[in-house]
């Protein structure tokens, strides 16, 4: 009896539909992707049951790290042609009588969060190396003699009156620092705060009410 020989042939799978699908999904994700901006410090965000999503625009974010350092971020607004960040830097330049070159202003509007005294700002903007420039991030001063943080908030509010306030603080940040920040912001007439949290579902029903 002759043996039935199976012809050795590498099976060819037609991958075209798969590639089609992948390119479609990939295009979709690339177009919709909004990149998470890098936090200026490592922050462990506390949990809450809030499902409200943070707005993308018109928001000033205040970062508070465990070591009491304060950082600030401000967006260009929904209509980026308004250049809110550049306007903010110009307002601060007038306040502190520092002249920024147009190049430094563009550089500032490209960067995200920052946290340094005004004196370091110029150097920070002119440092190309990210490791080098991180050395200037020592926190915004909030002392009563020269409260630069209050000025940042005030200028940001003047530049964009729609801007909301978001607090992104490490869970272990001491309360007095947070309170100081809240007080300073309240002095600028803002009473609504958004705490950035991570969502953590909690199931509580009527049966959970203790019987006296």
């Amino acid at each position: 009896m002759p043996k039935i020989k199976s012809i050795a042939r590498s099976p060819h799978i037609d991958m075209t539909p798969m590639v089609d699908l992948f390119s479609l999904l990939l295009t979709f994700f690339i177009l919709t992707a909004t990149f998470r901006p890098v936090d200026p410090a490592k922050l462990t965000i506390p949990n809450s049951v809030s499902e409200k999503v943070a707005p993308d625009n018109d928001i000033m974010t205040i970062f508070i790290s465990t070591d009491k350092k304060i950082y600030f971020n401000f967006d260009n607004g929904k209509d980026t042609s308004k250049h809110f960040r550049a306007e903010l830097l110009k307002a601060m330049a007038t306040q502190y009588k520092i002249n920024f070159t147009p190049k430094e202003i563009t550089q500032f509007s490209r960067k995200s969060s920052f946290g340094m005294p005004m004196a370091y700002l110029k150097q920070w903007l002119n440092t190309e190396d990210s490791k080098e420039s991180d050395k200037f991030q020592v926190g915004i001063p909030t002392d009563s003699i020269d409260n630069q943080f209050a000025w940042w908030v005030r200028s940001a509010r003047t530049v964009n009156s729609q801007a909301q306030v978001a607090i992104k603080a490490d869970g272990d940040a001491p309360y007095p620092v947070v309170k100081k920040v809240l007080d300073l912001i309240q002095k600028n007439g803002i009473n609504k705060f958004n705490f950035v949290t991570t969502y953590d579902k909690q199931e509580v029903g009527i049966k959970d009410i203790p019987k006296q």
Partner: protein, 208 residues
């Protein structure tokens, strides 16, 4: 002559004739790369939206007189270091016996039980309303439901008024946790206020 032409034609045709099977392109590396990029974009994009918890603080104005609140409805929550939570009902008034501080914590059976018990009526109303929405008994939009819950909270005049007070050793996460408890137990009115000096001393005197 004619022969030559046909020969040439035939030769040309043989040269130009396309292969019956067009060369297959191996798409596996391309698929690999796309898979990788796709995974990357899914992981970075889909879960990157941060959540926020909104809180409105009482206006800070030296000229406004703080509103008079019923002491029996007031529940003071005091926060201090190492996740300790204390609460007491009413207000500390000179000449009257000082209220007893009760120790609690942020666990499920801690301060939440106290708040639920205090806020029983409003909590039941809101939970029943939400449940009937989930079950499909009432059909309303999310905005209308929020509006309804807001009005329920506004009309509530028996529920507790919570005063959240934290001392210097409290952490930011304690504040977030307690405000979160307010959201969980549907407390209508609460505020973050400063500790009085009497409370500060009493809080310091509490055993660890």
């Amino acid at each position: 002559m004619g022969e030559v032409v046909t020969e040439e034609k035939a030769q040309k045709g043989a040269k130009k004739r396309p292969k019956k099977h067009p060369g297959r392109i191996d798409m596996t590396p391309m698929v690999d790369l796309m898979c990788l990029l796709l995974t990357f974009f899914i992981l970075t994009a889909a879960f990157s939206k941060p959540k926020i918890m909104t809180i409105t603080m009482p206006e800070k104005d030296d000229n406004t007189v703080p509103p008079k609140i019923d002491a029996r409805r007031t529940l003071n929550i005091l926060l201090t270091d190492s996740d300790r939570v204390y609460y007491y009902v009413g207000a500390i008034e000179p000449g009257k016996p000082q209220p007893q501080f009760v120790r609690s914590n942020f666990s499920k059976d801690g301060i939440r039980k106290v708040l639920l018990l205090k806020n029983k009526d409003l909590f039941t109303k809101i939970t029943e309303y939400n449940e009937s929405r989930v079950k499909g008994k009432i059909h309303v939009s999310d905005a209308a439901a929020d509006e309804h819950i807001k009005s329920l909270k506004k009309d509530d005049n028996v529920g507790p008024i919570i005063l959240i007070k934290a001392d210097e050793s409290a952490k930011y996460k304690d504040i977030v946790s307690i405000v979160d408890e307010m959201a969980i137990t549907n407390i209508a009115s609460y505020a973050i206020v400063d500790l009085s000096s009497v409370e500060k001393t009493l809080l310091k005197a509490q055993p660890r």
